[in-house]
Assembly symmetry: C2
Homo-oligomer: 370 residues x 2
């Protein structure tokens, strides 16, 4: 393990209970019935604990999209040709992709990181190069990458977060692009959670029944050939992962270490969270699960991590599109906490429980409950 | 029925199928796997049908909050004193309430309408006066209002929408405030849907078990005393409704007539939607159900209306707070539709189904599916 990965893992501390308690008290003093903003209240308290700030502000927002190619596409696991990975990077840079629209809608900047796209790119404004290799190897025949490359990918994610912190980073969303990467994510998910392959494998970009059955066979083969060890997340990442998944795991670890809330997107980001939380279980407390994807493995994976998604909009695009919506909700939650008036400030009367005498009188009435 | 109510009801037309078909085709040409943005895609297509525009824009957004008092609070159905209705109007005007924060977060203006708060208000900047009376009468003893007042309330909602259209109104959210109004909403819900009172009655601002049992008894009495006719929505509104609920029903009818999408908030707005859709069943097509509230009647009511909520964040504040989040999603959906690049524009390769020859080869493999 590299020095900086070790340093980052050591730096991940528990949530700040004092800030959380102060946030909880403030929520109960705001001009609304207690608890009436439901999960937004929870989310604001969690964010206070993450940032160790009873009145957290989420001004600077970024979605980090890690992109890489996958050797396993040689097995015909996707509906789209491999060149789409590369083409979509250009689409991100031009602002034409789904994540560009949604990130703009929530006021988040987009950071596009080449973790290993086949062919590479010339220097392009807006593209961060952390290329590990021109795509992974075909995991159906052997390890997707070396252990050293897996560690390099984690390291790259840490470096990207540290660089973004220089521009201001109050909350980060994770995003991914890589044709074939639901195959890698399903394999990671099966390896770490122990769930049956069939349960964690879905249609990705939209494959039909026969191709889905084939995809399941390919994953079975990848696990049989590689024997990834569930107890060693770096081993899982190396044998059946992807460069962008490793990069995102690094992003998650670094964000947790620096007390930055991480809004995880869909299935690929979830697989990265499995790797990261294998390296430091405390990471889970820093994660906000934006949504549950239409990929069937995602719900299982979130359950394994003890996370409850905020949204279910049947999305399955990736790119960080779900994370963008989650960032919006996290900011809404913290604005509620910090901007609403208290009962005292607004001169609004608080709840007045009914006197016992009145309740006793009701007791004489026929009631459908008692 | 007044002339303008009749005119509005007649003006409600079916959704525009041509615009919806064009929007559907465009969604399928955008740089993402088809259907991968799930319910956001549906929402963009519905919005196109509502606005009769294949590329709808939601620039001008407003949340209309109707406020009124309820005579039924004399029966001790709420945890908060009646004066809170009035105090919260002042809080809305000062910008300290939950809806102020969330409306600002989604870029919507807030329109506060006094439909009948006890004591009334002097002219205040930002407060629209459509006062019908100083609160309704206690429906546990007789009709909450006269039939004429019910029609006036509907009319007031229409007038508010027409006035707001002068400022630009591309989408409208509904909101409510009125201590005691979950009691009215539950009674309307029971009267119109025929569901058992116990199933549609909840804890409102947070009452305990005994007070809940009492609230159910009060609703039972209100229905027994008034016999509202499920076939006559104005009768239901008059006998067991509220001025703000009537106002919101008018808002919903007018928005549908003018082809403006209406994002309905929680249980109170849902009761208003029941009244409005009783007057014109086509109204349902113009409704976007933002969320399902923690009030148990809300899910039943949405099901009765054939609406599927976008969010479930366990919120139960009212004020339009859920609607604000729904407006955000509707705008996200239309921005996706109008701003994303197509495959052709971005030079991204489209899906390539696997050749039959390849699939035949897979057929020889053992597969867990076939």
């Amino acid at each position: 393990m590299s020095d900086s990965l070790e340093r980052i893992i050591k730096a991940i501390k528990p949530l700040d209970e004092v800030a959380m308690e102060a946030a909880r008290k403030r929520q109960d003093s705001l001009t609304k019935p207690q608890g009436s903003l439901g999960r937004l209240e929870e989310l604001s308290i969690k964010t206070a604990g993450i940032k160790a700030d009873p009145l957290p502000k989420l001004k600077h927002k970024a979605i980090i999209i890690m992109v890489a190619d996958h050797g396993v596409v040689a097995e015909s696991v996707s509906l789209y040709p491999q060149e789409v990975t590369r083409q979509m990077v250009l689409n991100f840079l031009e602002g034409g992709a789904g994540i560009n629209v949604l990130a703009s809608h929530v006021g988040a900047r987009v950071v596009i990181v080449d973790m290993g796209v086949i062919g590479g790119f010339p220097p392009l404004p807006g593209l961060v190069c952390k290329m590990i290799d021109f795509g992974t190897k075909n995991m159906a025949n052997g390890p997707a990458m070396s252990r050293e490359q897996a560690l390099d990918a984690l390291e790259a994610g840490i470096k990207v977060v540290e660089a973004e912190m220089g521009k201001g980073l109050d909350i980060v969303g994770t995003g991914d692009m890589g044709i074939g990467n639901t195959t890698a994510a399903s394999t990671i998910c099966a390896a770490i959670t122990g769930e049956p392959i069939k349960k964690v494998t879905g249609r990705g970009t939209g494959i039909g029944d026969k191709q889905l059955a084939h995809k399941i066979e390919v994953i079975k083969r990848a696990l049989a050939v590689n024997h990834p060890s569930a107890r060693d997340p770096v081993d899982v990442l190396a044998k059946v992962g992807g460069f962008e998944i490793g990069g995102l795991a690094g992003v998650i670890l670094a964000a947790a270490a620096y007390r930055i809330p991480v809004v995880i997107d869909g299935f690929i980001s979830g697989a990265a969270a499995l790797i990261a939380s294998g390296l430091s279980p405390r990471v889970k407390d820093y994660l906000i699960a934006a949504h549950v994807s239409a990929e069937p493995g995602h719900a299982l994976l979130l359950n394994f991590l003890g996370l409850r998604p905020l949204l279910n909009l049947e999305m399955r695009l990736g790119e960080g599109t779900g994370a963008a919506l989650g960032i919006f909700l996290a900011e809404a939650a913290t604005r509620i906490l910090t901007e609403m008036a208290t009962f005292a400030e607004a001169g609004v009367s608080e709840a007045q429980p009914i006197p016992e005498d009145t309740i006793k009188k009701w007791g004489h009435q026929k009631s459908p409950i008692f």
